[in-house]
Subunit: 428 residues, 2 copies
Amino acid sequence: MTVLASIEEQDIAALMRDMGIHARKAALKLAQIPSAPKTDALKAAARKLRENAETILTANARDMEAARTKGISAAMLDRLALDPARVEAMAAGVEAVADLPDPVGRELARWSPEHNGLDIARVSVPLGVIGIIYESRPNVTADAGAMCIKSGNAAILRGGSESFHSSRAIFDCMAAGIVEAGLPEHAIQMIPVTDRAAVGEMLKLSDYIDVIVPRGGKSLISRITDESRIPLFKHLEGLCHTYVHASANAAKAVDIVVNAKMRRTGICGATETILIDSSIAGRLLPRIAEALVNKGCELRGDETAQAIDGRIKPATDEDWVTEYQDAIVSIKVVRGVNEAVEHINTYGSHHTDAILAEDADATTTFLNGVDSGIVIVNASTQFADGGEFGMGAEIGISTGKLHARGPVGVEQLTSYKYIVRGTGQTRP
Amino acid sequence: MTVLASIEEQDIAALMRDMGIHARKAALKLAQIPSAPKTDALKAAARKLRENAETILTANARDMEAARTKGISAAMLDRLALDPARVEAMAAGVEAVADLPDPVGRELARWSPEHNGLDIARVSVPLGVIGIIYESRPNVTADAGAMCIKSGNAAILRGGSESFHSSRAIFDCMAAGIVEAGLPEHAIQMIPVTDRAAVGEMLKLSDYIDVIVPRGGKSLISRITDESRIPLFKHLEGLCHTYVHASANAAKAVDIVVNAKMRRTGICGATETILIDSSIAGRLLPRIAEALVNKGCELRGDETAQAIDGRIKPATDEDWVTEYQDAIVSIKVVRGVNEAVEHINTYGSHHTDAILAEDADATTTFLNGVDSGIVIVNASTQFADGGEFGMGAEIGISTGKLHARGPVGVEQLTSYKYIVRGTGQTRP
């Protein structure tokens, strides 16, 4: 890949349009390629990643130095940093995607209407061209690229400027694997300039890109939502709730709540608000509070919760709509499952919400009533993850309802077409 | 329904926002309602339509008179006109939707990952709130409204101003059926003003409307595409092709091509371009041309086609991208299936395309290669229809790839959620 030094060397709009045209052509070819070459390409790419680990780490060192000079945050530096173990994990990840069943060409349904005798099949096909816009994590280049290839889609990748050299080194390995297996050269492309204007031009390419997957923080996603003329698979915030019903098993509830909040506080499946029934709060809330405080969690709650446990600080209205991504939790005492459902539908982010209960009616009301992609009974919200779902890999967790909801795996990167077989039928 | 006399009586933005809030609340309730009340509501609505046929026809006469005064086209007048038979057909259509299987609550997949023992089910749920924007056909009020209710979605209907009174009379019947069966009052709402500004405000309600279904001509759809911040199920033009391969059965080919073009020229599944292999064109094209001319079809073709049959007039580049919706067809002579596939993917609208062939390899190449929602072998493109597919009713035929492709029936008006059942699992 040639890296263009600056915007003056090329008209960005023309560059992006060319990439779009190339991607569409590659996509039409990819849609007709059987499983084996796609698997081969990913296996070859994984091998290239291992063989070129040193080149990748050198490129990463360059990015890290520039990032440190720019004074970016420690959290961002950690997301940017690669080491031999992370490169190996990336290669293994690409192999894991290679080993998934081919999501393309599955017969999703087949029937024959009696009155015309046509043989109608709904068959999975690739979406076409997928644009991935991400920030500092260079491994997205390999993960997302691999998922697109596995699902027969062409990909246009746009990494963050701070991870540019790392992503480029990884991209070169992916591209080499693709060429080695004889897939179309433009099956994966990476935008060769870091100019912000390239994103704006990319979001206009609705003729050439079928869906955009934004992977990053709120400000990235909100910019893309505003600008895009292309549909998005949006992974918005995970403002997840765990509701402790009166019928909950107390010991399990303490364990699950602590895990849901504190296992990893920075992931989207982390619980941010605990709802607990008033009839058991007096007895159970102090045990939950104790266990959370022991793990270093700050507690904020409504007046009832504060009255029950003195360690709970006052929560404001802002707390119910805040995804802390930190060791802080908000706690509300509710009167039954309907109030819990209403709170979640009002303040939640339609991501993942759990009920802890032994009562079947309450469970059913909760599972049916909560309007979220994932609803869980008697387990931790931290299971909201494509890997935990057995989907192999995910490109994000969709909080939208259209096309893909919940973890977006390779199956969700497909559409379908109807194949209709006749024997000469004309329509009366 | 109160009809507001003019924009001054109400702030349109506030009106639309209120409708959105009501719709979202109704949708959350509808999602939890079992099959029987939804079916009952539609049966009651059908009965109301029959009982109030006279009121509906009187309202329609008022619309027709205003339309004639405005001098609208004969085609539009025909779409607007109702008579007792059309009202009966509308009632029967609502009953047919009532009798469809409930598309909500289907278990689409269920599995249990070994390493965590969770029981994971993917279950169909309503999309939520669907906005329908349509033009002169008043029956859309009943058809689309019924499909939304059947699939547990709340609907906000916006009919064309020329069919306002007819649509309102129909809407009143639907609303009465809904109230009679005890469904939420705002399960279906109709915008009570005819101001164009209401559409603009509606398209901003991304917090309250999940998907917009535009039903109308190109200018309506292009305006909505430009303005909408809400995803669309787009039914764009149907620029359909029928490709006659060298291995086609000649007699069947003539019948199918004539039916595909001429059965009804105004529907989206009508063939607009015939592609025919050069090796058989000399023999078969004159027979096809003869049959089409006998039906009153104008023929336009490339130079080779013109040389073969003198009745074929010259086609310009514009012809390959024109959806005539009329008794005109463009004809191109191609050298084999790959050229046919390339022509279709370049000039087509990804709607419906057919191959007439007895050769299995050519058929496979065509079915895999053509990037359209419906690909047909040895049958007429005019079968592109939800009813013909056995889907009962359709709200349109999607030419997009996301969520719904091809005929959009009640199943396609659903999303899914993951229901995860645990026994106390925490994530390691």
